[in-house]
């Protein structure tokens, strides 16, 4: 396959940035999208040009480090992470546009690399159960109905990649935040801090500059892990019941 790549290049956070065009030939359909970029980078290096910087690590769809906004969609045309996207999803001669995540709360670091530490701060605001190591009950003393455990697991599968934010026209982080709020609100372990958690995490999300949710559902459609927007509804319920009844904030 031979492809034309239009890639966002930006030297650093303050550089204005712009698109550069490259030709990738000898692309095999069995390559992953990132392997295609590896080959491009080796070619650029041999020519003495700065390779394209992008985030990636596990390359098996679970660490959430890879990003890339490909042809107007986060993680490209398939509902998967970019590292799991393979070139068989594209056709010979195609032009592919590659951009970083675009969101105020995810500033560009270089080329296609963005800073997603806002997500860490949302978790730090309350995405945990406050238990210290040791001194906890035997695991089977907390029975949890299978259906509830399964729902919690559905929410807990979020990999924190930020595709939901990149997909949203408001750059909202509601899907990410609600996945953690839901997981812990569903489980008995999360009950004690249920109200403060919802309040604090939502407040942090707003403070980071993420936008509001207008229920377009784009986040769910693009989420590589299929996190459902019912989590957003659950978080809204959690949040409203918390603000009208708690004295925490």
């Amino acid at each position: 396959m031979k492809l034309t790549l239009k890639i966002w290049r930006q030297k650093n956070a303050t550089d204005k940035g712009g698109f550069a065009t490259y030709v990738a030939d000898h692309v095999s359909k069995d390559m992953s999208f990132l392997e295609m970029l590896d080959v491009l980078n080796d070619q650029l290096t041999e020519k003495g040009e700065d390779p394209v910087h992008f985030d990636h690590d596990c390359r098996e769809g679970i660490c959430g480090m890879c990003s890339l906004y490909i042809n107007g969609k986060p993680h490209g045309p398939q509902q998967t992470t970019t590292c799991q996207l393979h070139m068989r999803s594209f056709s010979d001669g195609e032009t592919i546009t590659i951009e970083p995540w675009r969101a105020k709360a995810f500033p560009v670091v270089k080329d296609l690399v963005v800073n997603r530490s806002a997500f860490d701060r949302i978790i730090q605001a309350g995405g945990y159960v406050s238990v210290n190591t040791g001194g906890v009950p035997d695991a089977n003393e907390i029975p949890i109905p299978k259906t509830v455990a399964d729902l919690a697991m559905d929410a807990a599968q979020c990999i924190g990649c930020g595709a939901c934010v990149a997909a949203c026209k408001n750059a909202s982080a509601m899907l990410f935040t609600s996945a953690k709020v839901s997981q812990l609100a569903l489980l008995p372990q999360g009950q004690v801090e249920r109200k403060t958690r919802a309040e604090k995490m939502v407040a942090q999300m707003d403070a980071e500059g993420f936008g509001a949710c207008t229920n377009t559902g784009a986040c769910e459609a693009e989420c590589p892990k299929g996190i459902s927007i019912t989590n957003i509804a659950r978080m809204n319920r959690e949040y409203f019941s918390a603000v009208v009844s708690s004295d925490n904030m």
Binding site: D42, E60, Q78, H86, R116, D120, Q124, T133, V136
Partner: protein, 644 residues
């Protein structure tokens, strides 16, 4: 030099309890006067950082990823072992201990392994309390499954994403301590060196991966939780960034490196598809509970298959060789990883491999789907099947999966004593970064157990014992050793940037990987290893004259990061080969073709090799010195491992 493992005296079951009691304690009001550095935020690092911060120590946590949640523990699929005996099927702490010692082919310490089994039960309690959504039965209690090499069901799991859920649990505990101000996080920061003052670890040198700033950090103790070195093979199931740099630099500062040649080749990975391949993807071992491993009975049929003249499903039952079930009737497809991998290699070497490259065997779910229905199989393995389809383009519900062994885990690592302390006082190694619990072969679902055992339940006691012996005064960062170590790091970076050769970093990494895989991989020979040593030395020379690293230090420079790591892999590779050459026996993942039983199983030599091979760095270009720690077995009898 005699290596003191510091295993406490007394009966096996009482060692840890006694040791905890005899460990010194730091007064609660004094804990805030001690600083601890934790490098790496995987299961071992995140759990250690959180637990130490909860106790009151000041913790600095470092990771090279953009967030601590991305450490490679996240990719562990299958599960975590614990001797809960919730299933009433005969499990116990002693049985988990015994299985781990035996599975490791009697090359691990009894005391350490028993402690691991003992604390395993507390890990599950801790994770459940954090809200980790483990799989459950309809009655609401925890579900278990059996896992490669075990005859009891002691593996706890969260679908096929157990590592993810456990790591997110530890990450949440860590995040809570960040919010409390007890942990300061340094993401996108790589450890470049350890600062050793008067023989004790007192800090580290780091590089900020965004700005390139080289900085120093002082502390009373340094914990390396930096994972394994499987990426020395270039292709492995490790994340792209997984590296040996932190451990290797510590090694060069005096920490002995133990059993470097003990690497685990995982039997169930998606086969290589071409030269562009950047990593290999694991298919969880749990698949072997229901999948049957086979190849065609004859070369002729395999040949037709490879040419695409027939499909797997066209091959009649009598023409299929379920080789693991045939050779190991009592364990069948559930034999330990080393045995499963080696046998896959044998049948492929015989010309019975099933894909274009001839390096793949089938893992077939046809019979399981017939027996249990597709729905049940989907519930158990749905995400793995989807992942397989995504990568290969083939549907494993319809066609058998193709799998082949790949480098997955490294049992070797920094030598540590019972306290997890390396040979440098104040410098600890936890999780995969140390060598201690898995001997020559790790059992499935035991890596997560060890990482969390070390971080949650061992280090809080043992590091306290060390700190209690130090004065509660700040470590002086103005000590000239800090400046010197920093300067050396800067010079190392400059040296790489100045080479300006012709070949990209990966060119060298791929070549190193091929040498290691061919000659220090699943099967090793004296001749091959000697060739490998010469090849690596030549490659190293070429690297330092011809690698091309563009850009500067003062920016995000992923090429420079990689070059820095590959430089260390080149040195480590040579040590692995030395270690494999020294060990004139076969055990676990280390298979020397010269040493095998008549039916092709690993032939141990307990008389001469029941020791830990710890290597001491003696300087640039010098052969390392071998220091032996004899292994003492007081409780288990060494036997030939048999899974027949």
């Amino acid at each position: 030099m005699i290596l003191d493992s510091k295993i406490p005296a007394g009966p096996l079951a009482e060692k840890w309890t006694k040791h905890k009691f005899s460990s010194k304690l730091v007064n609660p009001a004094n804990k805030r006067k001690y600083d601890v550095i934790v490098v790496g935020t995987g299961l071992a690092g995140a759990s250690a950082a959180a637990s130490l911060a909860e106790l009151g120590y000041n913790v600095k946590a470092f990771c090279f990823q953009d967030s601590p949640r991305r450490a490679h523990s996240i990719a562990a699929q299958g599960g975590i072992n614990a001797a809960k005996n919730y299933q009433n099927d005969g499990d116990s702490i002693y049985r988990l201990f015994y299985d781990t010692i035996k599975g490791g082919d009697y090359r691990a310490r009894e005391g350490n392994v028993y402690r691991l089994a003992e604390v395993s039960v507390k890990i599950i309690d801790q994770c459940v309390a954090q809200g980790v959504p483990f799989a459950r039965e309809y009655g609401g209690l925890l579900a278990n499954r059996s896992f490669g090499g075990a005859q009891v069901s002691r593996t706890f799991y969260a679908r096929g994403q157990t590592g993810q859920q456990l790591l997110l649990g530890a990450y949440s505990a860590l995040s809570r301590q960040v919010a409390n101000g007890k942990v300061k996080l340094f993401p996108r920061t790589e450890m470049m060196d350890v600062v050793v003052i008067d023989g004790q670890a007192k800090g580290i040198v780091t590089r900020n991966l965004i700005t390139g700033a080289v900085e120093t950090h002082a502390a009373h103790a340094v914990l390396l939780c930096t994972g394994g070195y499987g990426n020395v093979f270039f292709l492995s199931t490790n994340a792209m960034g997984s590296n040996v740099t932190a451990a290797w630099r510590a090694h060069k500062r005096g920490a002995f490196f133990a059993n470097p040649c003990f690497t685990q080749i995982h039997p169930t990975c998606i086969p290589v598809s071409g030269d562009h391949q950047s990593k290999l993807t694991l298919m969880s071992e749990s698949l072997r509970n229901d999948g049957r491993v086979w190849v065609p009975a004859t070369q002729e049929i395999a040949e037709k298959l490879r040419k695409g003249q027939i499909k797997a499903n066209d091959i009649k039952e009598e023409d299929r060789d379920y080789f693991l079930e045939r050779k190991y009737p009592s364990f069948g497809n559930l034999v330990p990883r080393d045995v499963a991998s080696r046998n896959a290699k044998y049948v492929c070497d015989e010309g019975r491999g099933v894909n274009e490259t001839g390096e793949a065997v089938f893992l077939d779910f046809r019979d399981a789907i017939k027996r249990d229905t597709r729905k049940i199989i989907e519930q158990k393995y749905g995400n793995l099947f989807d992942m397989y389809k995504q990568i290969t383009g083939e549907d494993p519900y319809e066609m058998p999966m193709m799998i082949y062994p790949a480098v997955h885990y490294t049992m070797g690592g920094l030598w540590v004593d019972y306290n997890l302390m390396t040979t440098v006082p104040g410098l600890y190694a936890l999780g995969e970064a140390n060598f201690s619990e898995h001997g020559a072969n790790r059992l499935g679902a035991s890596a997560l157990m060890q990482g969390l055992a070390d971080g949650y339940f061992v280090i809080p006691y043992t590091v306290g014992d060390y700190l209690a012996q130090l004065a509660p005064t700040k470590v002086d960062e103005n000590h000239p050793e800090f400046a010197r170590a920093k300067e050396e790091v800067k010079q190392g970076i400059e040296r790489l940037l100045k080479i300006n050769g012709n070949k990209p970093v990966d060119y060298f990494h791929k070549r190193l990987g091929k040498i290691m895989w061919d000659k220090c991989g699943m099967a090793r020979t004296e001749v091959g290893l000697k060739e490998a040593k010469a090849d690596i030395q030549a490659l190293k020379k070429e690297f330092w004259t011809n690698v091309k690293v563009l850009g500067t230090n003062e920016e995000l420079n992923q090429t420079l990061e990689k070059a820095n790591r590959v430089a260390d892999f080149l040195e480590l590779g040579e040590l692995m080969v030395d270690d494999a050459l020294n060990r004139n026996e076969s055990c676990g993942g280390h298979f020397r073709e010269e040493y095998q039983t008549p039916d092709g199983e690993a032939l141990r030599d307990d008389e001469n090799f029941a020791y830990v091979a710890a290597w001491k760095y003696l300087g640039e270009g010098k052969e390392e010195e071998l220091v032996k720690e004899e292994l003492v077995f007081e409780n288990v009898k060494l036997t030939q491992r048999s899974y027949k």
